[in-house]
Amino acid sequence: MAEENAPMQQSHGPSSGGMRSSGPGGGPGGPGGGRPGGPAKRGKRNFVRKKKVCRFCVDKADFIDYKKAEILAPFIQERGKILPRRMTGTCSRHQRWLTVAIKRAQNIALLPFAAEL
C-alpha cells in the first residue's frame, strides 16, 4: 500500500524545487502524457499527473446498480477492500453510492467480503 501511495502524493515534488520552474510549463496539458501517477519520459523527477476523473460522472450515472458486480469490481482490492476515493478518483457523491452498492453486492455473494484462501 505504502508503495502505491508514494507516487500519487508526488512526494518527489518538493525535492525538485529548482526544476519545477521548467517543469510545470510543459507539464500540464503538454506532451509526455504519462499514466496517472506514472513518471514522465523526460526528467526522472517530473511527474505528469493526469487528472483522475470520476468514472460515474463521465457515464452520467444517476444510479449505481448493486447487481452489476462487473461494474463494481474495479473499485475493490483483490482482498475485497473498497478502494478509497484518492485511488480511483471517484467524486464524493458517487463514492457514497458506490460503497452502498458494493456492500449490497457483498451481502448477496456477488462480491467478496474478503478474499478466500
Binding site: F63, K67, N107, I108, A109, L110
Partner: protein
C-alpha cells in the same frame, strides 16, 4: 402510503431441480398476492459462482424478482418464507423506490439543463475566442 419497490434476490442450492425453484417462487407469489403485493418480474439468473462460500457451497442458483407493494410488512413475511424454505441458502431484500425516485429526479434535472444549454453554448464559444486573441502577442515578439 405510497407504493414501495423492493428487489428480492435469493440463492438456492445449485443441485436443486428447477421444479423446486419454481415451487419457492410460487409460494412467494401466493403470499405476496395474499398480502396485497404485486410481483413485477421474476428473473432466473441461473447457476452462478458465489463470491464466497455459503454453507460450504461455491455455486448457487440465483433468482431475482421485483416486488411492488404499499405494505412494508409483506417483506417480513416473504423473508420468513425464504428462511423456512429448504433449498434457499441466502436471500436479500433491498428497498429501491427512493433511489429510483432520486434517479428520476436527477435525470429530469439533467434533461432540463440540456434543453437550456444550447443558448449557453452559443454564448460560451464567444468568450474563449477573445482570450485566444492575446496569444497573438506570442507571435508579435518573434515578428
Amino acid at each position: 402510503m405510497e407504493e414501495r419497490q423492493y428487489d428480492l434476490i435469493f440463492i438456492c442450492r445449485p443441485d436443486t431441480p428447477e421444479a423446486d425453484v419454481d415451487k419457492v417462487v410460487a409460494t412467494l407469489e401466493s403470499t405476496a398476492t395474499e398480502k396485497g403485493a404485486k410481483i413485477e418480474s421474476v428473473a432466473k439468473w441461473g447457476r452462478k459462482r458465489m463470491a464466497y462460500r455459503v454453507q460450504k457451497l461455491h455455486e448457487g442458483y440465483f433468482v431475482y424478482m421485483v416486488i411492488k407493494t404499499t405494505h412494508g410488512e409483506v417483506v417480513k413475511e416473504l423473508e420468513r418464507r425464504l428462511k423456512v424454505a429448504d433449498p434457499v441458502i441466502k436471500y436479500l431484500t433491498v428497498r429501491l423506490d427512493e433511489e429510483l425516485k432520486r434517479q428520476e429526479k436527477l435525470k429530469r434535472h439533467r434533461e432540463r439543463r440540456a434543453a437550456r444549454r444550447p443558448r449557453k453554448t452559443v454564448a460560451a464559444p464567444a468568450a474563449p475566442v477573445a482570450p485566444i486573441a492575446p496569444p497573438s502577442e506570442q507571435s508579435a515578439p518573434t515578428a
